[in-house]
């Protein structure tokens, strides 16, 4: 068998010590990592199982109104936490639109943030991939790439980050708490994932041994609870990654958008915060014409990386849709088809 060490540290400090060794990899629920190992894409020499670390599975309301979510909280538990779903409905909807019920029951918050791209060439050990093997080349570039990036890509890598969860999170200025060899630090989620540039192998800003211990949603994120949606276009209703997705949240007062938070998924190597679009919306009356303008602004820099020009058009439309739905108001219940364009259908 493929031999590797397996350690189950009792404390965060021990975990970091073990995780800092060369060839070590943190193992959360393994829904992504174990698949990569079975395919020969990842071959860690040591698995550091973090799932029993104490204190990382809590959802805490902090004094400053922010919410602290332990890295080991399961995706399903978070989405089904009634308080959480009420305060951050778009995040809950995004979580529930991801993967399948079984996977969400297992998957952790930290693992979801750190999941790797779903680029098929990345998973196919026989293909050239700069992420897996720096300098090897990128077989996606001239290959099957209809679902690849349209923003922030480089000739070195055109992969997208697949997480749904991260999309509303980045819109809400979520912060990642990290413990590492040199202590504790914080990073805006927006800075966690790297664009490929000329170093596609560098997927995140984490250094060797860095462990995500928690995720924080600032107090302001709650202000959008009344107007927050996540919309995801995918090739089947469940158990499929986003072709393109959008999270839209609005704070509407006196018929005006006071503040807007927007992000796109499935378009880039990171969850894509659309600040230009937010600016267009701020102060405007909620109206489809202004949504369109915002969407155009969000995709102004987009260019196809292959057979995927349609994603630029689709991203704009999905943004308009997410804004339209958000302006209409968050539904009382998370729809039975979370994130689906059909989620507004009665009985869906």
């Amino acid at each position: 068998m493929m031999n590797f060490d397996y350690v189950r540290p009792a404390s965060v400090a021990d975990a970091i010590a073990a995780g800092s060794e060369k060839g070590a990899s943190y193992l959360a629920s393994g829904t992504n990592l174990l698949d990569l190992m079975k395919g020969g894409v990842s071959r860690p020499s040591r698995l550091v199982d973090v799932t029993r670390l104490p204190g990382l599975d809590r959802i805490e309301h902090l004094a400053d109104g922010s919410l602290r979510i332990g890295a080991l909280v399961r995706n399903a538990d978070l989405a089904h936490d009634a308080d959480f779903a009420r305060n951050y409905p778009a995040v809950a909807e995004a979580l529930l639109s991801g993967a399948s019920a079984q996977l969400r029951n297992a998957a952790t918050v930290g693992g979801n943030l750190m999941q790797r791209t779903r680029c098929a060439y990345f998973y196919d050990a026989g293909s050239a991939c700069n992420r897996r093997w720096p300098g090897a080349g990128c077989d996606a570039l001239k290959g099957e790439n209809r679902l690849h990036a349209v923003l922030g890509w480089s000739e070195g890598c055109i992969a997208t980050h697949p997480s749904d969860f991260c999309v509303p999170l980045v819109a809400f200025d979520a912060v990642v708490e990290i413990e590492g060899k040199s202590g504790r630090r914080e990073l805006p989620l927006e800075a966690l994932h790297c664009l490929p540039g000329d170093a596609p192998e560098r997927e995140t800003a984490l250094e060797r041994g860095d462990l995500i211990v928690a995720l924080r949603l600032p107090a302001a994120a709650k202000n959008f609870a009344g107007h927050a949606r996540y919309v995801k276009v995918r090739e089947r209703t469940s158990y499929a990654f986003a072709v393109v997705s959008a999270a839209a949240s609005l704070r509407i007062e006196d018929g005006r958008i006071r503040e807007a938070r927007l992000a796109l998924g499935g378009v880039a190597a990171k969850p894509w915060r659309a600040r230009e679009a937010e600016q267009v919306l701020t102060g405007a009356a909620p109206d489809v014409a202004v949504y369109r303008e915002a969407a155009r602004a969000a995709l102004a820099e987009a260019k196809p990386s292959g057979d995927n020009a349609f994603k630029i058009e689709l991203a704009q439309r999905i943004m308009v849709r997410a804004l339209t739905l958000a302006a209409r108001g968050t539904p009382d219940r998370i729809p039975a088809l979370p994130g689906s364009p059909f989620s507004s259908v009665a009985g869906a």
């Binding site: 026989g126 077989d139 090739e235 469940s238 072709v243 058009e313 059909f342």
Partner: protein, 755 residues
């Protein structure tokens, strides 16, 4: 000439109906839901070790080196089977003995014919060690440029398509038809490569005992497998004992034993220990067959009133570089519509893939989605409702042969399904309907058809001294419910209550039941059972009616009728005798008889035999985002006698879901440069999930067919796909006005087309 066949031939003493026709739940259901059903890979004979296949990651070339030493050094690895180190075979795996012998890769050389081909087998004490051993082989290759896709090379006319069908069929005068047509639909469609993806991967547990071989393996055709393995290993077929009680799906991929399964047998022989070999999901994308991609040009000409003048259906398909299987896609146009001129023709291109093979409705599925879409186009061009158009061109006799149908209740299917669906009043123009949420709504329909095929099968019936019965047949339960449906037929054939019957199946030691394919298993084995039952009851009747001490004495064989374990006098029901009494008086422990089922050549030459159906679908489409959602499907099918309505509905429903999958989801994506499949897993190879499957109505229309076989069964395993794929595609057109001619329909086509 009148043909006197089938039901009229029914032995007078058999009365079907006490068990047949009842919606019995699966006899193996409890075993399955409690995990007690033993599938092939659940077996662990003493001393068993594990074999793992190392597969090629190139699609064409040669293996130039394998690091066998590294693999062997790995703890637990016992041996590595390679072209240089393997048991001698008695027969060339590339020999073509019969039309069902397909070439397989058994390490006969270092040549690589397709990605995922076996290039070595690592045998180890544990699965993990074998898996790692396979990874350590680090193969090197001499790579040649892979031929990928429908334009990979020069097209040629294949000798035959499917199994022995002519590659080109002409009926009537095509040129005259084209000249006469005032409206012409000329459209080119493409369908993708698809893989069977049965839930249960191909698996084998092989045990040699001298020159006897015991294997547990899922099989849709144990007799064929026995013959092939016997030839390869040079042992008599009777020395091979196959156990295959349950399959976790086959869909055609387990019809013939595959190369990897034989490699498991070779591995066991090589090391002289029992071996288990199970394919990984990704390894099922290559050596076990697939549905090849097709490009189909179809021309449909009509007069202004929509009456067909010509159908010219041409298909280009791929096959492997080293063997011949040609998806008979265009043949779908032979039977459905009454056109005075019909031409179907095939051409093929060789590519570097495994050989395509039968996959649920081979030819019918690929051809019918194109035919049904093009019929929809033709109806639209004529400004005629698609149902009316189909009725206008209803085939009263089989168009290409002129034969009458043995039975054909398609009109009733159209009527019932249309009514149930609420088709009346459908606007002709697309993009006319919206729901209360603003989604575009479209309605489409398709005609379903599948031939009523029979193979050759046998059964043995026994009535024991206690009056109970046994029926034995080496039939195959792929999950479709053969254990139940065939037992129902058995019970009726023996005139017994269901619980008085022991039904034995799923082993090659039982009478050969042929192949579970072509939707012909219940018909074939059902006929064999019927005949075996009739024969054994005849023996009982003989005993009783010729014995003075029996109350049935003198009634004559035709003068008795079997019911609930007794023979009754036909003319006086009160005079009867139990099976047990008859055997006891005769001093017999049991009576037995065999029976067989096969197509009746006389009937076949006289009649065209097909099941039919009509499927209606509703889809909703998001007008901006292009996301499609099927919201309703109704299918009505006429498929002869229904043995078990529950099982039949489940088959039809499964087929309809596959049709939906064909139209909207399913596709193997291949890298055009390397020939590797990029989505060889169930996460990325999309089939509908529960949330994609709409409410479905499945209707069966009564059909009495006295010609197809003794029981009047036509088969329901495959027909469900055929009308459904087209119905969904046509509904998408009706919702959006966009005619997508590349399947599956992708979101970009809709998004960019919606404007």
């Amino acid at each position: 000439m009148t043909v006197e066949l089938s039901l009229t031939r029914d032995p007078a003493h058999i009365r079907h109906g006490s068990n047949i026709g009842q919606p019995m739940t699966r006899t193996d259901g409890v075993l399955k839901v409690t995990g007690k059903a033993r599938y092939a890979a659940d077996n662990h004979p003493a001393g068993m070790v594990y074999a793992v296949i190392a597969t090629s990651c190139i699609a064409r070339g040669r293996v130039t080196s394998l690091d066998v030493a590294a693999a062997k050094r790995h703890p637990g690895v016992i041996d590595v089977m390679t072209p240089a180190h393997k048991p001698q075979l008695a027969e060339d795996p590339d020999a073509k003995g019969n039309p069902f012998a397909f070439r397989m890769e058994l390490l006969q050389s270092d040549e690589v014919r397709y990605a995922n081909q076996a290039i070595a087998v690592v045998i180890a004490e544990t699965l993990e060690a074998a898996t790692e051993g396979a990874a350590l082989l680090s193969p090197r290759y001499q790579v040649e440029i892979a031929r990928v896709g429908l334009d990979a090379g020069e097209a040629y006319a294949p000798p035959v398509v499917g199994i022995g069908n002519p590659a080109e069929v002409r009926h009537g005068d095509i040129d005259a038809g084209m000249a006469a047509a005032s409206k012409l639909t000329d459209a080119t469609y493409e369908t993708p490569a698809q893989y069977h993806n049965a839930m249960e991967p191909h698996a084998i547990v092989a045990v040699w005992d001298g020159d006897r071989l015991f294997i547990d393996t899922p099989s849709q055709g144990m007799g064929f497998a026995q013959m092939r393995v016997a030839g390869l290993f040079g042992i008599p077929p009777a020395n091979i004992h196959i156990n295959s009680p349950f399959l976790g799906g086959g869909f055609g991929s387990k019809g013939l034993i595959s190369g990897p399964q034989v490699l498991g047998i070779m591995a066991a022989k090589l090391i002289g220990r029992p071996v288990k070999l199970v394919l990984r999901r990704s390894q099922m994308y290559g050596p076990v067959g697939h549905r090849p991609p097709t490009r189909q040009r179809i021309r449909i000409g009509t007069d202004d009133a929509g009456v067909l003048a010509v159908i010219n259906h041409e298909a280009r398909v791929t096959t492997s570089s080293f063997d011949d299987f040609y998806e008979p896609a265009a043949d779908a146009s032979h039977t459905l519509y009454a056109s005075p001129a019909i031409r179907t023709a095939h051409e093929a291109v060789r590519v570097d893939t495994g050989t395509p093979l039968f996959m649920r409705a081979p030819g019918e599925a690929t051809g019918s989605i194109v035919l049904e879409s093009a019929i929809d186009e033709a109806a639209f061009a004529c400004g005629i409702d698609p149902l009316e158009f189909r009725l206008k061109n209803y085939a009263e006799v089989e168009p290409t042969t002129g034969k009458p149908f043995s039975s054909k209740a398609l009109r009733q299917c159209y009527a019932k399904a249309a009514e149930c669906f609420g088709w009346a009043g459908r606007p002709l123009q697309p993009r006319q309907m919206r729901d209360e949420n603003g989604f575009l709504v479209g309605w489409g329909m398709g005609t379903a058809t599948f031939p009523a095929i029979m193979f050759q099968g046998n059964a043995r019936a026994v009535i024991r001294a206690d009056g109970k019965g046994v029926m034995e047949t080496g039939a195959h339960d792929m999950g479709q419910g053969a254990w139940t449906a065939l037992a129902q037929i058995s019970a009726d054939s023996l005139g017994l209550d269901f619980d008085q019957l022991t039904f034995r199946s799923g082993s090659s030691d039982l009478p050969d039941a042929g192949i579970a394919g072509g939707s012909g298993h219940t018909a074939t084995v059902g006929a064999a059972i019927h005949n075996a039952g009739a024969a054994v009851i005849a023996k009982l009747a003989e005993l009783a009616t010729s014995d003075e001490r029996s109350p049935l004495f003198g009634a004559g064989n035709a003068g008795v009728v079997a019911r609930a374990g007794r023979l009754h006098r036909r003319d006086d029901d009160t005079r009867s005798e139990s099976y047990a009494e008859i055997l006891a008086r005769a001093g017999l422990a049991e009576v037995d008889a065999t029976g067989s089922g096969a197509a009746d050549a006389a009937a076949q030459s006289q009649y065209a035999m097909h099941a039919h159906g009509a499927v209606f679908a509703e889809v909703k489409v998001d007008p901006e985002l292009g996301q499609i959602r099927a919201t309703r499907m109704v299918g009505a099918f006429a498929a002869g006698r229904i043995i078990n309505p529950l099982l039949v509905e489940s088959q039809l429903r499964g087929g309809m879901i596959w049709g939906l999958s064909f139209a909207l989801h399913e596709e193997a994506v291949m890298d055009k440069r390397s020939g590797r499949i990029l989505n060889a897993n169930l996460a990325e190879y999309h089939v509908p999930v529960n949330a994609d499957v709409p409410p479905m109505e499945v209707i069966t229309v009564d059909e009495h067919d006295p010609h197809v076989n003794p029981l009047g069964i036509k088969g329901v395993g495959e027909i469900g796909i055929t009308g459904s794929a087209g119905a969904v595609a046509n509904a998408v057109f009706h919702a959006t006005g966009i005619r997508v001619r590349n399947f599956p329909i992708k979101i970009e086509e809709i998004v960019m087309g919606l404007g």
